[in-house]
């Protein structure tokens, strides 16, 4: 048992930190970047590709680095620390994850290769109006004709759905559950309305009207559990990203308490404030423990069998619940302990609160995961974290 990163993983973290510092060491740059389209920095994206980060979790034969969830977590933490707007989670972990799990060898080589090289940004069009973080699709339906498959219906919100060079789409297939498809941006009947999310990210409404689509992997297979597995993995990656953001929100807050003076003394003179910063630290460390544990549970999963999937789902929910609570606590207190300055877009800490709020609602918030866990409490005695 070891909760620390090995030398290679540390080196990866430092390299990514250095790369991101070129773009975002100055918070003003991040603010400028998210104000402009496409909402992230294409140069930084290309540098991440050069470093191999965009192919990190994929097999080498498909242009990837063959790394695992721990490395993905290391990268996600670094992105979280500077609120990097690049679509690593949306494109690599989610959309790429789906392709890696369901694509044919040929599709993986082509699609993941382009993703890894930076040639193409992917988006996973899965969320549907009226659906709450479910792994199945209902609102977008697939139909097969002599000419192939077409999709109809609406997906929203689709993270980075407007900028994406290729869409990975889930759709209800009559008689065989949820299928997965690839849709190219020029396809007929495809309409994409992109917009800003409140944390400076990007999402879109993506509408399909008899839009030609290519099945991902073999058509006619129910992919619900594939999607569920990718969502759980992405939840754990998102927890890592939140961890980085919470860490910086806290250090920014304690730094501010030491320098901001009111009544002729630094705010850190007031124990009513420093104790609350201490409570933020407690939340952060509890969240870190569960996140690192869940990352290791995911890394240990190898066969993709139902028992293992259940374990990963359980770990993902436990981490997501802990991080949801911690993210709110830390995000809200970071603003409160700063006072008015944290309400501004110019000062960094409010953006950390915004992004933690967005991450919380992307893949399932604390209440969602609490309900998942509550439904299963009768099925076990003690919760034992070690295998």
């Amino acid at each position: 048992m070891d909760f620390t990163h090995d030398d290679e993983q540390q080196a990866l973290g430092e390299a990514v930190r250095g790369l991101l510092a070129r773009s975002y060491a100055d918070f003003e740059n991040r603010r400028r970047t998210v104000a402009d389209e496409p909402g992230f920095d294409e140069k930084t994206w290309a540098r991440l590709a050069e470093m191999g980060v965009l192919g990190l979790p994929f097999a080498e034969e498909y242009g990837g680095m063959g790394a695992g969830p721990v490395e993905v977590g290391v990268v996600a933490q670094e992105l979280g620390r500077v609120l990097a707007p690049e679509p690593f989670l949306a494109s690599v972990v989610l959309a790429g994850g789906v392709v890696a799990a369901a694509g044919t060898a040929q599709q993986k080589a082509a699609v993941l290769g382009d993703l890894a090289s930076g040639a193409s940004v992917l988006a996973f069009a899965h969320a549907e109006p009226g659906a709450r973080w479910v792994p199945s699709a209902a609102g977008v339906t697939a139909a097969e004709s002599a000419d192939g498959w077409t999709l109809s219906g609406v997906k929203e919100p689709v993270p980075h759905g407007a900028r994406a060079d290729l869409l990975v789409v889930s759709a209800a297939v009559p008689g065989s559950g949820t299928g997965l498809f690839l849709v190219s941006p020029g396809a007929t009947g495809l309409a994409r309305d992109g917009y800003r999310t409140f944390d400076g990210g990007r999402a879109a409404r993506v509408a399909f009207d008899a839009t030609p689509a290519v099945p991902l992997g073999e058509a006619g297979t129910d992919r619900t559990s594939t999607v569920a597995g990718v969502l759980d993995g992405a939840r754990i990656a998102a927890c890592n990203e939140a961890l980085g953001a919470m860490e910086v929100a806290l250090s920014t807050t304690s730094g501010y308490l030491k320098t901001r003076k009111q009544f002729g003394v630094p705010l850190s003179t007031f124990q009513s404030l420093t104790f609350r910063a201490a409570d933020m630290y407690v939340s952060l460390e509890m969240a870190r423990s569960v996140t690192l544990w869940a990352t290791m549970v995911l890394a240990a999963a190898s066969d993709g069998g139902p028992d293992e999937n259940r374990e990963v789902a359980d770990a993902a929910s436990r981490a997501a619940l802990q991080v949801s609570r911690a993210g709110r606590h830390i995000g809200q207190e970071a603003v409160q302990l700063h006072g008015g300055i944290a309400m501004t877009a110019e000062y960094s800490v409010g953006s950390y609160t915004s992004h933690l709020t967005a991450l919380d609602h992307l893949l399932g918030d604390g209440g969602f995961h609490l309900a998942r866990l509550a439904a299963a409490v009768g099925g076990h005695g003690e919760v034992d974290p070690l295998p």
Binding site: A127, P129, G130, A131, R132, W133, V154, E156, P157, P159, D193, Y195, R196, T197, F198, G201, A203, R205, K261, Q262, F263, G264, F270, S272, L273, R328, Q332, V335, Q336, G339, G340, A342, M343, T344, A345, E346, G350, S351, T353, S354, T357, A358, H361, L362, D365, G367, F368, L370, A371, A374
Partner: protein, 391 residues
């Protein structure tokens, strides 16, 4: 003890309810119900509707448009207004500078400003806070130096809410730097079109523009715009802040949003014939909030029912503290009801997602301010600890 309102007060309530739900234009009440930002024109139109009926500034002296109502009636007026989605009269005018001028201003100032303030012919801004003078307001550094029959102002104010609409700004300025900080402050009224006044927008985390920096560079202000006595401004500011605290906990509005939230929850399907409102975790959260709000409302009623002498009850800090916490908690509930749809905050009308859901995150983020301004919640705890508990 007695629970019912007297027959007269009950009739008063019905009268207020009828007025607010029938006389105030619907586009304004729809915007409030939809949690959208009001335009300047809507705020002005709404206040003028109230003022025409003589109910924009009931807490002012009767001579200047007030109504001599009991504290209970003022409370009923305020609650019914929020319940009907009517925006309260602009606080800077109605609760802040109006009462200060009415209480400490001279006859000329009253005649010059009060009627226009009640009718929102003048839009006032509040120029108290500075970058280095927040909770420690008395350390403010903007100076006003007497030069003949003028004051010359130099310095910077910040967080000036809706200063972009402001015609006039009431400022705390330092007129005597040699004495204890509270003893050298004056209360000045400044025409914002004066040469040397610059207003710069500050973008907030919800993307909105509601606060500003206001810079003063050799701004000449006629000495007749001094309210009360020179160097007594701190007393007037304390009077004003005491009033600010009372109105700042919008019990009625929070109750209304919570009731709306239940309808929104009912509109989110969770399975075959079930909605989010059937979800036990959601329902429990709503019930908990309803009970907390009930306790808050009853505390507010207890305070107003027993404050005959017009002085703020010491428990008004409880109202500000708990009121803003609950306002924030309800906005957090709505955000969670919206769930993934909350991400679509920037979507246009083509969006497939509900309007309330798209507004939920900006409102949640924006309301983090409620526990910061009007005396932060830490300051309220200090007041409770010191003045009530004697600690």
């Amino acid at each position: 003890m007695q629970l019912e309102l007297s027959a007269e007060d009950a009739a008063f309530r019905d009268e207020m309810r009828a007025f607010f739900t029938t006389e105030v234009p619907e586009d304004i009440r729809d915007a409030v119900a939809g949690r959208r930002e009001l335009t300047k024109e809507q705020v002005v139109r709404s206040q003028r509707t109230l003022n025409a009926a003589g109910i924009a500034v009931p807490h002012w002296p009767v001579e200047w448009g007030g109504r001599d109502w009991s504290a209970l009636r003022r409370h009923i007026w305020h609650e019914e207004m929020q319940r009907a989605c009517v925006p309260p009269p602009l606080a800077f005018n109605a609760s802040m500078v109006g009462p200060v001028i009415a209480t400490f201003g001279n006859r000329e100032q009253k005649e010059r400003f009060l009627a226009k303030t009640a009718n929102l012919d003048i839009w006032w801004s509040q120029g108290f806070s500075e970058p280095d003078a927040g909770s420690d307001l008395a350390s403010l550094r903007t100076t006003a130096v007497r030069d003949g029959d003028h004051y010359v102002i130099n310095g910077q104010k910040t967080w000036t809410t809706l200063g972009q609409h402001g015609d006039w700004i009431f400022c705390l300025v330092r007129t005597d730097p040699t004495v204890k900080k509270q003893a050298g402050i004056s209360f000045l009224l400044v025409d914002m079109t004066s040469p040397g006044v610059t207003v710069r927008p500050i973008e907030l985390i919800d993307g909105g523009h509601e606060v500003n920096e206001v810079w003063f560079s050799d701004v000449r202000v006629p000495a007749e715009n001094l309210v009360g006595e020179e160097n007594k401004g701190w007393d007037y500011a304390k009077f004003l802040l005491g009033n600010e605290r009372v109105g700042v906990a919008p019990v009625g509005a929070t109750k209304r949003v919570l009731a709306q939230a239940k309808e929104w929850a009912r509109s989110v399907p969770t399975g075959e014939g079930t909605t989010l409102l059937d979800d036990p975790l959601t329902a429990a959260r709503v019930a908990e909030l309803e009970n907390q709000l009930l306790a808050l409302e009853l505390t507010a009623l207890r305070v107003v029912a027993n404050s005959a002498d017009g002085k703020p009850h010491p428990a008004s800090s409880v109202l500000k503290l708990r009121g803003t916490e609950l306002q924030q908690a309800v906005s957090e509930l709505v955000l969670d009801l919206a769930g993934p749809d909350s991400l679509a905050s920037g979507a246009g009308d083509s969006s497939a997602l509900a309007d309330w859901a798209r507004r939920s995150a900006p409102v949640y983020l924006n309301l983090r301010k409620a526990s910061i301004y009007g005396g932060s919640n830490e300051v309220q705890r200090q007041i409770i600890a010191r003045t009530i508990l004697g600690l």
